[in-house]
Symmetry: C2
Subunit: 340 residues, 2 copies
Amino acid sequence: MKPLLRVLAGEPCWPPPIWLMRQAGRYLPEYRSLRAQARDFIEFCMTPDLAVEATLQPLRRYDFDAAILFSDILILPWALGRNVSFVDGEGPALEALQGADAIGGLDMVAMPERVAPVLEAVRRIRAALDTRTTLIGFAGAPFTVACYLIEGGSSSDFAATRRMAHAEPELFARLIDRLVAATITYLAAQIEAGAEAVMLFDSWAGILPPYLFRQHVVGATAQIVSSLKARFPTVPVVGFPRLAGLSIGAYAAATGVAAVGLDTAADPLLATSLLPERVAAQGNLDPTALVAGGTALEREARAILEALRGRPHVFNLGHGVMPATPPEHVAALVELVRAA
Amino acid sequence: MKPLLRVLAGEPCWPPPIWLMRQAGRYLPEYRSLRAQARDFIEFCMTPDLAVEATLQPLRRYDFDAAILFSDILILPWALGRNVSFVDGEGPALEALQGADAIGGLDMVAMPERVAPVLEAVRRIRAALDTRTTLIGFAGAPFTVACYLIEGGSSSDFAATRRMAHAEPELFARLIDRLVAATITYLAAQIEAGAEAVMLFDSWAGILPPYLFRQHVVGATAQIVSSLKARFPTVPVVGFPRLAGLSIGAYAAATGVAAVGLDTAADPLLATSLLPERVAAQGNLDPTALVAGGTALEREARAILEALRGRPHVFNLGHGVMPATPPEHVAALVELVRAA
């Protein structure tokens, strides 16, 4: 079995497998050249030639254990018929959903066909990978996608989303249900196209109070995991409830995920003490330590390796690679982990 | 003893005392009129007539257990000689500190005199309060103030600050040391002027990896607490390490704070299970539940009351009151807590 899949099946492995969130992207000069070949970011993601090449670029430089489909969590809302655009340096802009529109405004029928180019990219990436490298598919988790849909973009506090979850609980729950169904369809299609593991990015999970976290993060994730497990019993789901803090134990136990992504702030020993023994931990080097490099990078990477030695662990960052990261620091990190 | 001070001394109290972070401010129409009397926000904070009136406004409407000095965490960097301005709707803008400038750029000598109007406001507020209401002074915690100083304003990830903490550890530690000293001076002066408790707002504590959290959040807070305790043994310090998640237990045990503010995301039962028994918990209703009002507000407030009944608890929000909050929802919350 590929090393990453062994660890996601609950088996410790030393040194641990390694890949990095946003291992493809703007910090690589070859990505910046490639990006210039598409007019906008959606077109880039929806052109299989470009998405495949972006996915494979970091694997030519670094000895990673996984390729992760080059895409964006806002491709799903786009495929559901919402207008999505990316303005350089300003983040995404979406047509915001409002009121009853929150449900009717998502076109579940057109979605499978609109994501066809993504699935084509998955097929081609899988065919290009060697026998050691695992292909990871992904989607934004329903709560995080709902945040962007309701705010119409990013936000410092997603207050409108939280307010809606409190003030219009039925409507919000129906929106989450709709996104759960769409996410299951989307991830199942990625698996059928060749993804060997899938990851759910719940970037804003940590802004919810416990009651809403249980419902819209844990509950929604549990539904996705159980539905995918029924159809694809051997394909692991990795959950990343960013900033979940204390709730990470309940998340791991109640969702059935094979692995939990730890964010930068999580103390790895403390966090894994709350995880069931066979649930793998993924993470969690500070991406700014990777920007800094040198002794800071070395000290922090070694501390994480040491803390998680002996349990199933996938080395990764606590958040995505930053555009300012010198590519040679990534090489140094991979070397350090391989030589552990 | 005043109810709030009893709880901060470790004694449970039922129903718990209540006050709200940002209980004064933009959600109140009388504040908006008052604010119009000063040209800019710094001038507003530095004019005792206005700061006193802003502090007292919510106490005329609501039966709160505490008044908190109306000010801002950026008043300290301003008093240290940095240019600070507030642009409506855009957040603060500061002259960013860079490199060696990070230390020399803070004018420790001028600071005590520059904060004189704040201390005058503290004296007048204290004189105006009845015998049940506690006056809380405050400052930003050193790490959070360092974030603003280094970035020159707010940020989604404070990457430059974290990068500096990793890449220039000695310089960053000296900056934190300098801010620790300034914060001790500033809070001691507030206590001498009449503050009966002080709070340290560490809004960005949760973005740090564990190693830096221990050093710059726990370590810096511990120094401030021990220095204030030596001079003012009966004045409690409340710490608010926002988004500290799993690290809240270590924070409470190692800093010596009398109380820990829980942020919105913290599960109150889980979080307090990590606190020493006599350390009070403050929090942690979602401010967006207060915007929503109605059954959501009622359900979540009661869940928090119930979870923390029997231990020292100060009812509060998990973050500040939002400008969109209907003032009558605050009245309903105070009534609900008083009638618990």
